[in-house]
Protein backbone atom coordinates (compact mmCIF):
# COMPACT_ATOMS: atom_id res chain seq x y z
CA UNK A 1 0.00 0.00 0.00
CA UNK A 2 1.22 3.49 -0.82
CA UNK A 3 0.08 6.86 0.32
CA UNK A 4 -1.59 9.28 -2.04
CA UNK A 5 -1.97 13.05 -1.80
CA UNK A 6 -5.02 15.01 -2.90
CA UNK A 7 -5.23 18.80 -2.78
CA UNK A 8 -8.67 20.39 -2.85
CA UNK A 9 -8.38 23.88 -4.36
CA UNK A 10 -10.26 26.72 -5.98
CA UNK A 11 -9.21 28.53 -9.16
CA UNK A 12 -7.99 31.72 -7.48
CA UNK A 13 -6.45 30.23 -4.32
CA UNK A 14 -2.86 31.46 -3.93
CA UNK A 15 -2.24 29.36 -0.80
CA UNK A 16 -3.10 26.27 -2.88
CA UNK A 17 -0.26 27.18 -5.23
CA UNK A 18 2.09 27.21 -2.23
CA UNK A 19 1.07 23.67 -1.23
CA UNK A 20 1.60 22.44 -4.81
CA UNK A 21 5.00 24.11 -5.02
CA UNK A 22 6.07 22.75 -1.65
CA UNK A 23 5.05 19.17 -2.47
CA UNK A 24 6.75 19.38 -5.85
CA UNK A 25 9.93 20.62 -4.16
CA UNK A 26 9.86 17.40 -2.12
CA UNK A 27 9.54 15.34 -5.32
CA UNK A 28 6.00 14.25 -4.47
CA UNK A 29 3.16 13.91 -6.94
CA UNK A 30 -0.41 14.78 -6.06
CA UNK A 31 -3.91 14.93 -7.44
CA UNK A 32 -5.65 18.31 -7.65
CA UNK A 33 -9.40 18.64 -7.27
CA UNK A 34 -10.55 22.15 -8.25
CA UNK A 35 -13.85 22.58 -6.47
CA UNK A 36 -14.90 25.33 -8.88
CA UNK A 37 -15.13 22.59 -11.52
CA UNK A 38 -16.87 20.01 -9.36
CA UNK A 39 -20.51 19.57 -8.33
CA UNK A 40 -21.56 21.06 -4.94
CA UNK A 41 -21.50 17.60 -3.35
CA UNK A 42 -17.70 17.56 -3.57
CA UNK A 43 -17.49 20.87 -1.69
CA UNK A 44 -19.86 19.51 0.96
CA UNK A 45 -17.78 16.32 1.32
CA UNK A 46 -14.61 18.37 1.81
CA UNK A 47 -16.31 20.53 4.46
CA UNK A 48 -17.40 17.39 6.31
CA UNK A 49 -13.94 15.80 6.10
CA UNK A 50 -11.98 18.91 7.07
CA UNK A 51 -14.48 20.63 9.33
CA UNK A 52 -13.59 23.86 7.59
CA UNK A 53 -14.86 26.08 4.81
CA UNK A 54 -11.49 27.02 3.41
CA UNK A 55 -8.89 25.83 0.96
CA UNK A 56 -6.41 24.37 0.44
CA UNK A 57 -7.37 21.09 2.05
CA UNK A 58 -4.64 18.51 1.58
CA UNK A 59 -5.44 14.88 2.28
CA UNK A 60 -2.68 12.32 2.64
CA UNK A 61 -4.13 8.84 2.80
CA UNK A 62 -3.42 5.18 2.43
CA UNK A 63 -6.22 2.84 1.37
CA UNK A 64 -6.76 -0.91 1.47
CA UNK A 65 -5.95 -3.10 -1.54
CA UNK A 66 -9.49 -2.78 -2.88
CA UNK A 67 -9.13 0.99 -2.70
CA UNK A 68 -12.07 1.66 -0.46
CA UNK A 69 -11.27 1.86 3.24
CA UNK A 70 -8.65 4.40 4.31
CA UNK A 71 -6.13 2.86 6.68
CA UNK A 72 -4.44 6.20 7.23
CA UNK A 73 -5.74 9.69 6.66
CA UNK A 74 -4.20 13.04 7.52
CA UNK A 75 -6.02 16.25 6.70
CA UNK A 76 -4.21 19.60 6.55
CA UNK A 77 -6.31 22.73 6.30
CA UNK A 78 -4.61 25.80 4.85
CA UNK A 79 -0.96 26.37 3.98
CA UNK A 80 0.77 24.74 6.93
CA UNK A 81 4.18 23.30 5.99
CA UNK A 82 4.90 22.05 9.52
CA UNK A 83 1.78 19.88 9.57
CA UNK A 84 2.21 18.79 5.96
CA UNK A 85 5.81 17.84 6.71
CA UNK A 86 4.68 15.48 9.45
CA UNK A 87 2.07 13.92 7.16
CA UNK A 88 4.49 13.18 4.31
CA UNK A 89 7.69 12.49 6.26
CA UNK A 90 7.80 8.81 5.24
CA UNK A 91 7.06 9.60 1.58
CA UNK A 92 10.09 11.79 0.95
CA UNK A 93 13.17 10.12 -0.54
CA UNK A 94 16.22 10.47 1.70
Amino acid sequence: MTKTITIYTTTTCAYCEMVKRWLSSKGLSYKVVNMDEEPPEVRQRVIEMSGAMTVPVTIVEEVTEDGTEPTYRDITVGWNPAKLGAAIHDMVAV
Binding site: T12, C13, A14, Y15, S25, A52, T54
Partner: protein, 328 residues
Protein backbone atom coordinates in the same frame (compact mmCIF):
# COMPACT_ATOMS: atom_id res chain seq x y z
CA UNK B 1 19.63 22.55 5.13
CA UNK B 2 21.92 25.54 4.84
CA UNK B 3 25.58 24.96 5.50
CA UNK B 4 27.21 27.03 8.26
CA UNK B 5 29.26 28.75 5.56
CA UNK B 6 26.43 29.57 3.20
CA UNK B 7 26.86 33.15 1.99
CA UNK B 8 24.94 35.13 -0.62
CA UNK B 9 25.25 38.54 -2.20
CA UNK B 10 21.68 39.35 -1.23
CA UNK B 11 18.99 37.76 0.89
CA UNK B 12 15.51 39.17 0.42
CA UNK B 13 13.09 38.55 3.26
CA UNK B 14 9.69 38.15 1.60
CA UNK B 15 8.56 37.32 -1.94
CA UNK B 16 5.81 39.81 -2.63
CA UNK B 17 5.79 42.27 -5.56
CA UNK B 18 8.49 44.52 -4.09
CA UNK B 19 10.79 41.59 -3.31
CA UNK B 20 10.27 39.97 -6.70
CA UNK B 21 10.84 43.25 -8.55
CA UNK B 22 14.10 43.74 -6.65
CA UNK B 23 15.09 40.15 -7.47
CA UNK B 24 14.48 40.72 -11.19
CA UNK B 25 16.98 43.58 -11.08
CA UNK B 26 19.62 41.95 -8.88
CA UNK B 27 19.59 38.57 -10.62
CA UNK B 28 19.88 40.23 -14.03
CA UNK B 29 23.09 41.75 -12.74
CA UNK B 30 24.33 38.36 -11.60
CA UNK B 31 23.95 39.08 -7.92
CA UNK B 32 23.38 35.80 -6.13
CA UNK B 33 19.89 36.40 -4.70
CA UNK B 34 17.91 34.21 -2.30
CA UNK B 35 14.35 35.02 -1.21
CA UNK B 36 12.60 33.60 1.86
CA UNK B 37 8.81 33.51 1.91
CA UNK B 38 6.86 32.19 4.88
CA UNK B 39 3.41 32.94 3.47
CA UNK B 40 2.35 33.30 -0.14
CA UNK B 41 4.63 34.12 -3.07
CA UNK B 42 3.18 37.34 -4.42
CA UNK B 43 2.00 38.50 -1.00
CA UNK B 44 -1.35 40.20 -0.62
CA UNK B 45 -1.41 40.83 -4.38
CA UNK B 46 -1.67 37.07 -4.91
CA UNK B 47 -4.81 36.80 -2.82
CA UNK B 48 -6.44 39.85 -4.40
CA UNK B 49 -9.14 39.01 -6.91
CA UNK B 50 -8.39 41.66 -9.49
CA UNK B 51 -5.77 44.39 -9.86
CA UNK B 52 -7.10 47.26 -11.95
CA UNK B 53 -4.51 49.96 -11.28
CA UNK B 54 -1.22 48.22 -12.04
CA UNK B 55 0.19 49.95 -15.13
CA UNK B 56 0.51 47.97 -18.33
CA UNK B 57 -2.68 45.94 -18.33
CA UNK B 58 -5.50 47.55 -20.30
CA UNK B 59 -8.19 45.40 -18.74
CA UNK B 60 -6.47 44.85 -15.38
CA UNK B 61 -5.04 41.52 -14.29
CA UNK B 62 -5.91 38.85 -11.73
CA UNK B 63 -3.86 39.19 -8.55
CA UNK B 64 -2.70 35.58 -8.63
CA UNK B 65 -1.71 35.87 -12.28
CA UNK B 66 0.26 39.07 -11.62
CA UNK B 67 2.05 37.34 -8.75
CA UNK B 68 2.87 34.34 -10.93
CA UNK B 69 4.19 36.58 -13.70
CA UNK B 70 6.45 38.44 -11.26
CA UNK B 71 7.64 35.15 -9.76
CA UNK B 72 8.30 33.59 -13.18
CA UNK B 73 10.24 36.65 -14.31
CA UNK B 74 12.45 36.66 -11.20
CA UNK B 75 13.06 32.89 -11.46
CA UNK B 76 13.90 33.19 -15.17
CA UNK B 77 16.93 35.24 -14.19
CA UNK B 78 17.93 32.86 -11.41
CA UNK B 79 16.19 34.06 -8.23
CA UNK B 80 16.21 31.29 -5.63
CA UNK B 81 12.84 31.45 -3.85
CA UNK B 82 12.74 29.32 -0.70
CA UNK B 83 9.66 28.52 1.33
CA UNK B 84 10.91 29.34 4.79
CA UNK B 85 11.09 31.96 7.48
CA UNK B 86 13.75 34.38 8.65
CA UNK B 87 13.65 34.83 12.41
CA UNK B 88 16.45 37.38 12.94
CA UNK B 89 18.99 39.61 11.23
CA UNK B 90 22.25 40.44 13.01
CA UNK B 91 24.89 42.91 11.92
CA UNK B 92 28.32 41.28 11.76
CA UNK B 93 30.05 44.17 10.01
CA UNK B 94 30.48 43.49 6.31
CA UNK B 95 28.13 40.49 6.52
CA UNK B 96 24.68 40.08 8.01
CA UNK B 97 23.80 36.85 9.79
CA UNK B 98 20.28 35.52 9.25
CA UNK B 99 18.65 32.82 11.32
CA UNK B 100 16.18 30.93 9.12
CA UNK B 101 14.14 27.75 9.11
CA UNK B 102 16.91 26.37 6.86
CA UNK B 103 19.59 27.21 9.38
CA UNK B 104 22.03 30.10 9.62
CA UNK B 105 23.25 31.91 6.55
CA UNK B 106 25.07 35.12 5.74
CA UNK B 107 24.50 37.89 3.23
CA UNK B 108 26.49 40.86 2.04
CA UNK B 109 23.21 42.78 1.86
CA UNK B 110 19.65 42.18 2.99
CA UNK B 111 16.37 43.55 1.69
CA UNK B 112 13.41 43.46 4.05
CA UNK B 113 10.30 43.29 1.85
CA UNK B 114 7.92 41.34 4.05
CA UNK B 115 4.88 43.46 3.26
CA UNK B 116 1.87 43.54 5.51
CA UNK B 117 -1.04 41.35 6.47
CA UNK B 118 -4.72 41.90 7.15
CA UNK B 119 -5.49 42.94 10.72
CA UNK B 120 -7.60 40.72 12.92
CA UNK B 121 -10.52 42.22 14.87
CA UNK B 122 -9.57 40.54 18.14
CA UNK B 123 -13.16 39.89 19.20
CA UNK B 124 -14.71 36.75 20.74
CA UNK B 125 -15.46 34.04 18.20
CA UNK B 126 -13.05 35.34 15.57
CA UNK B 127 -10.20 32.93 16.21
CA UNK B 128 -12.42 30.02 17.22
CA UNK B 129 -14.43 30.21 13.99
CA UNK B 130 -11.52 30.96 11.64
CA UNK B 131 -12.03 28.82 8.54
CA UNK B 132 -15.49 27.88 9.77
CA UNK B 133 -17.17 31.07 8.79
CA UNK B 134 -14.48 33.67 9.54
CA UNK B 135 -12.16 34.43 6.63
CA UNK B 136 -9.50 36.87 5.46
CA UNK B 137 -9.12 35.64 1.85
CA UNK B 138 -12.10 36.08 -0.46
CA UNK B 139 -10.38 34.51 -3.47
CA UNK B 140 -9.59 31.41 -1.41
CA UNK B 141 -12.83 30.84 0.43
CA UNK B 142 -15.54 32.82 -1.34
CA UNK B 143 -16.63 29.79 -3.35
CA UNK B 144 -17.89 28.13 -0.17
CA UNK B 145 -20.65 30.73 0.02
CA UNK B 146 -22.56 30.09 -3.19
CA UNK B 147 -26.16 31.30 -2.66
CA UNK B 148 -25.37 32.28 0.94
CA UNK B 149 -25.56 35.53 2.90
CA UNK B 150 -22.33 37.20 4.02
CA UNK B 151 -20.97 39.97 6.23
CA UNK B 152 -17.90 41.94 5.13
CA UNK B 153 -16.21 43.99 7.84
CA UNK B 154 -14.33 47.10 6.70
CA UNK B 155 -14.84 50.11 4.46
CA UNK B 156 -11.54 50.64 2.64
CA UNK B 157 -10.47 49.68 -0.87
CA UNK B 158 -9.82 46.03 0.05
CA UNK B 159 -13.17 45.60 1.81
CA UNK B 160 -15.12 47.08 -1.08
CA UNK B 161 -13.17 45.20 -3.75
CA UNK B 162 -13.49 41.87 -1.97
CA UNK B 163 -17.19 42.45 -1.26
CA UNK B 164 -17.74 43.02 -4.98
CA UNK B 165 -15.84 39.80 -5.71
CA UNK B 166 -17.88 37.85 -3.16
CA UNK B 167 -21.08 38.78 -4.99
CA UNK B 168 -20.06 36.16 -7.57
CA UNK B 169 -21.19 33.66 -4.95
CA UNK B 170 -23.27 35.32 -2.24
CA UNK B 171 -26.86 36.44 -2.64
CA UNK B 172 -26.45 39.42 -0.30
CA UNK B 173 -23.71 41.14 1.66
CA UNK B 174 -23.98 43.33 4.75
CA UNK B 175 -20.95 45.62 4.94
CA UNK B 176 -20.18 46.69 8.50
CA UNK B 177 -18.17 49.91 8.44
CA UNK B 178 -16.85 51.52 11.61
CA UNK B 179 -16.86 55.10 10.28
CA UNK B 180 -17.37 55.67 6.56
CA UNK B 181 -16.51 54.04 3.26
CA UNK B 182 -13.06 55.19 2.11
CA UNK B 183 -12.63 53.54 -1.27
CA UNK B 184 -11.40 54.84 -4.60
CA UNK B 185 -13.95 56.58 -6.79
CA UNK B 186 -14.28 53.70 -9.24
CA UNK B 187 -14.83 51.17 -6.45
CA UNK B 188 -17.29 53.50 -4.73
CA UNK B 189 -19.20 53.82 -8.01
CA UNK B 190 -19.38 50.03 -8.37
CA UNK B 191 -20.43 49.69 -4.73
CA UNK B 192 -23.22 52.26 -5.17
CA UNK B 193 -24.49 50.27 -8.15
CA UNK B 194 -24.64 47.07 -6.10
CA UNK B 195 -26.35 48.89 -3.24
CA UNK B 196 -29.01 50.15 -5.64
CA UNK B 197 -29.51 46.58 -6.91
CA UNK B 198 -30.10 45.45 -3.33
CA UNK B 199 -27.10 43.10 -3.40
CA UNK B 200 -25.09 44.99 -0.76
CA UNK B 201 -26.28 46.91 2.29
CA UNK B 202 -23.75 49.29 3.84
CA UNK B 203 -24.09 49.85 7.59
CA UNK B 204 -22.08 52.87 8.77
CA UNK B 205 -20.99 53.54 12.37
CA UNK B 206 -20.98 49.84 13.24
CA UNK B 207 -18.39 48.16 15.49
CA UNK B 208 -18.44 44.33 15.64
CA UNK B 209 -18.16 42.90 19.16
CA UNK B 210 -18.60 39.16 18.75
CA UNK B 211 -18.96 36.46 16.11
CA UNK B 212 -21.46 33.84 17.16
CA UNK B 213 -21.53 30.27 15.89
CA UNK B 214 -23.72 27.21 16.37
CA UNK B 215 -23.08 23.52 15.92
CA UNK B 216 -25.19 22.13 13.08
CA UNK B 217 -26.68 18.65 12.58
CA UNK B 218 -23.44 17.28 11.09
CA UNK B 219 -21.47 18.37 14.17
CA UNK B 220 -19.75 21.34 12.50
CA UNK B 221 -19.70 24.66 14.29
CA UNK B 222 -20.51 27.45 11.86
CA UNK B 223 -21.06 31.18 12.02
CA UNK B 224 -24.66 32.31 12.44
CA UNK B 225 -24.42 36.01 13.26
CA UNK B 226 -22.27 39.00 14.08
CA UNK B 227 -23.10 41.06 17.13
CA UNK B 228 -22.16 44.71 16.79
CA UNK B 229 -22.67 48.08 18.40
CA UNK B 230 -24.52 50.76 16.47
CA UNK B 231 -25.63 54.02 18.09
CA UNK B 232 -24.95 52.55 21.52
CA UNK B 233 -27.15 49.50 20.95
CA UNK B 234 -26.26 45.87 20.21
CA UNK B 235 -27.44 44.78 16.77
CA UNK B 236 -27.33 41.22 15.38
CA UNK B 237 -26.44 40.65 11.73
CA UNK B 238 -27.43 37.09 10.75
CA UNK B 239 -24.97 35.57 8.26
CA UNK B 240 -23.41 32.39 6.92
CA UNK B 241 -19.89 33.82 6.96
CA UNK B 242 -17.73 36.84 7.77
CA UNK B 243 -14.89 38.24 5.66
CA UNK B 244 -12.64 40.74 7.46
CA UNK B 245 -10.68 43.53 5.72
CA UNK B 246 -10.03 46.23 8.32
CA UNK B 247 -6.55 47.42 7.46
CA UNK B 248 -2.99 46.23 7.39
CA UNK B 249 -0.29 45.37 9.90
CA UNK B 250 3.42 45.33 8.96
CA UNK B 251 5.15 41.95 9.00
CA UNK B 252 7.98 43.06 11.27
CA UNK B 253 7.54 40.76 14.24
CA UNK B 254 10.88 39.12 13.45
CA UNK B 255 12.63 42.50 13.70
CA UNK B 256 11.32 43.47 17.13
CA UNK B 257 14.45 42.19 18.86
CA UNK B 258 16.85 43.32 16.14
CA UNK B 259 18.80 46.57 16.01
CA UNK B 260 16.71 47.77 13.05
CA UNK B 261 14.62 50.81 13.91
CA UNK B 262 10.85 50.69 13.43
CA UNK B 263 8.35 53.54 13.58
CA UNK B 264 5.63 53.78 16.24
CA UNK B 265 3.34 51.55 14.15
CA UNK B 266 5.96 48.86 13.57
CA UNK B 267 6.95 49.82 10.01
CA UNK B 268 10.65 49.90 9.07
CA UNK B 269 12.32 53.30 8.96
CA UNK B 270 14.70 53.97 6.07
CA UNK B 271 16.74 56.82 4.65
CA UNK B 272 16.29 58.25 1.14
CA UNK B 273 18.30 55.32 -0.26
CA UNK B 274 15.83 52.86 1.34
CA UNK B 275 18.58 51.76 3.73
CA UNK B 276 17.72 51.06 7.37
CA UNK B 277 19.84 52.17 10.31
CA UNK B 278 21.73 48.85 9.93
CA UNK B 279 24.23 49.40 7.07
CA UNK B 280 23.63 46.91 4.27
CA UNK B 281 20.04 46.21 5.29
CA UNK B 282 17.49 47.85 2.98
CA UNK B 283 13.71 47.92 3.00
CA UNK B 284 11.03 48.36 0.34
CA UNK B 285 7.30 47.96 -0.23
CA UNK B 286 4.36 47.93 2.16
CA UNK B 287 6.48 47.18 5.23
CA UNK B 288 8.44 50.43 4.89
CA UNK B 289 7.41 53.43 6.96
CA UNK B 290 5.68 55.86 4.60
CA UNK B 291 4.68 53.23 2.04
CA UNK B 292 1.61 54.00 -0.08
CA UNK B 293 0.35 50.38 0.05
CA UNK B 294 0.11 50.19 -3.75
CA UNK B 295 1.51 47.32 -5.82
CA UNK B 296 2.95 49.72 -8.39
CA UNK B 297 4.75 51.69 -5.66
CA UNK B 298 6.05 48.50 -4.04
CA UNK B 299 7.45 47.32 -7.37
CA UNK B 300 9.06 50.72 -7.98
CA UNK B 301 10.63 50.70 -4.54
CA UNK B 302 11.89 47.17 -5.14
CA UNK B 303 13.69 48.33 -8.28
CA UNK B 304 15.10 51.35 -6.46
CA UNK B 305 16.28 49.22 -3.57
CA UNK B 306 17.99 46.83 -5.99
CA UNK B 307 19.95 49.68 -7.56
CA UNK B 308 20.94 51.06 -4.15
CA UNK B 309 22.01 47.58 -3.04
CA UNK B 310 24.17 47.23 -6.12
CA UNK B 311 25.85 50.56 -5.31
CA UNK B 312 26.33 49.42 -1.72
CA UNK B 313 27.88 46.10 -2.79
CA UNK B 314 30.17 47.82 -5.26
CA UNK B 315 31.37 50.08 -2.48
CA UNK B 316 31.88 47.07 -0.20
CA UNK B 317 33.77 45.30 -2.98
CA UNK B 318 36.17 48.20 -3.19
CA UNK B 319 36.74 47.76 0.53
CA UNK B 320 37.70 44.07 0.01
CA UNK B 321 35.35 42.03 2.17
CA UNK B 322 36.68 38.71 3.33
CA UNK B 323 34.01 36.07 2.63
CA UNK B 324 32.69 34.35 5.71
CA UNK B 325 33.73 30.99 4.23
CA UNK B 326 37.33 32.08 4.72
CA UNK B 327 36.66 33.27 8.23
CA UNK B 328 35.06 30.09 9.56
Amino acid sequence: MASAKETHDLVIVGAGPSALAAAVYTTREDLDTVLFEKGVIGGLAAITDWVDNYPGFIKGIGGLELAQQLQGQAERFGADIRLGEVSSITDEGPLKRLETTEGTLWAKAVLVATGSDYKKMGIPGEQELYGRGVHYCATCDGAFYRDKKLVVVGGGNSAVQEALFLLRFATHIDMLVRSEVKASEILQHELDKRVREGKITVHLGVTPNEIVGETNATGLKKVTKVLATKDGHTVAYPTDGVFVFIGLLPNTGFLKTSAITLDEFGFVLTDKNLQTNMPGVFCSGDVRSGATMQIASAVGEGATAALKIREFLEMQERNHITPVSELV
